[in-house]
């Protein structure tokens, strides 16, 4: 039997073989009294009706599930709930020490320095794809600390500058990496003016324990400007005038930091990056 001929309606199939004249199937109504025979009892429950009822019920259940999913994802909801990945970021970084621009135990046996630009899409790729793995496999067990050095060079630079200042101000409350992770998860198109005060406040509200107004005020402090300048100097020492992001340095504690030689896109993903990192911090 094939799908094409599998489900003809009862009415179409019911023909009286003893008579040359076609006979209609009994047309029982829902709620009508049983007439005795199986066909009489179940006649109204045609395959077509059952099928449609099941489809309708399934569609209703799917609609409820999707509705819950959309509501849970914050579609059109308050500003803080519009921020992508708030729960995931909080879970990823919960319990890991942060101080300023350093994530992880201060006495960790190895260090990874990241130079990144808030608007850089490749930095976002590393942040969303590989950063969680590095945190879970290296930072949380205390094997590695990460030092973030934020740079501003993608034009127009107002978005990057605004984002980096907020990030550094969040770092003063030891929540820079929460801010950084959420910023990359919610990154907009380069130079589109996506780093609005509203976005920064929304990200701030999605970070447990962060004083958002203090962070917003801290963006314009001289200490914030000094830290941006210090990161730019550090980048110039490593890369000279050819600044590229993301750029990483890694090394063991007490030793010198070496450039993580990323030569292909694959090496920005967890497996490739871990192989490079292990080479520099193993032992």
């Amino acid at each position: 039997m094939t799908a094409a001929n599998a489900a003809p309606s009862l009415a179409r199939m019911s023909r009286n073989r003893s008579s040359a004249r076609p006979v209609r199937a009994p047309k029982a109504r829902p709620g009508s009294r049983p007439s005795g025979g199986q066909a009489g009892r179940l006649g109204w429950l045609t395959p077509r009706r059952t099928f449609l009822a099941v489809i309708a019920l399934a569609a209703a259940i799917a609609g409820i599930l999707i509705g819950i999913g959309v509501a849970g994802s914050g579609g059109g909801a308050s500003s803080a709930s519009r921020i992508e990945g708030a729960q995931a970021t909080t879970a990823l970084l919960a319990g890991i020490p942060q101080k300023g621009n350093v994530l992880g135990r201060p006495d960790a046996p190895a260090t990874l320095v990241e130079f990144a630009e808030p608007q850089c899409p490749i930095c976002r790729l590393w942040a969303t794809e590989t950063f969680p793995t590095i945190v879970r496999s290296y930072v949380r067990p205390g094997k590695l600390k990460i030092v973030f050095q934020g740079l501003v060079f993608i034009r127009p630079t107002s978005d990057s500058d605004n984002a980096l200042r907020a990030m550094i101000a969040a770092g003063r409350q030891n929540r820079m990496f929460n801010f950084l992770d959420l910023l990359y998860r919610n990154q907009g198109r380069e130079g589109s003016g996506w780093v609005s005060d509203d976005l920064l406040r929304s990200i701030g509200k999605a970070i447990p324990g962060l004083d958002v107004e203090k962070m917003m005020a801290g963006r314009s402090s001289p200490a914030t400007s000094r830290q941006i300048a210090a990161s730019a100097n550090a980048a110039a020492q490593v890369m000279g005038t050819q600044v590229q992001t993301p750029t990483f340095l890694a090394g063991k504690r007490g030793g010198s930091l070496q450039l993580v030689q990323i030569q292909s896109r694959d090496q920005l993903y967890p497996a490739g990056f871990r192989a490079l990192l292990d080479r520099l911090i193993a032992g």
Partner: protein, 145 residues
Amino acid sequence: MREPQLRAAVGVLALAGAGIAAYLTYTRYSGAPIACATGGCETVQQSRYALIAGIPVAVLGLVGYAALFATALFRGVTAATAGVGLAVVALAVSAYLLVAQLALIHAVCQWCLASDVVVSLIAVAAVWRYLCLAGLRATALRRSS
């Protein structure tokens, strides 16, 4: 194809889907990196769309595939009907998640795509199976009346 073959197809596909869902559930709770040739798996798995009512979609998928597998263990119209219902729910939720990946998360997870293919095939097999049985029942009813 006949009903037993379609029932077996639903069972095998449900096992394959359960394998995918089990792997994603494992990576979610163990923190192990996701094997991902396309890139984007981590982004999708950590997005807010990866949760429905606070439950990871991978866990919901695992439960759904287990239920679909259960419908393949039993003969009869009732099991086939339940299979169609579950398949339609799974198909609709998969479509929603695919739209979320493409339009909202801007990242695609290869495991999710594989699951989408499996769910689509299950839906075809489940509906076909139901139609076979419905046709057989109609024939039986006709003969008895």
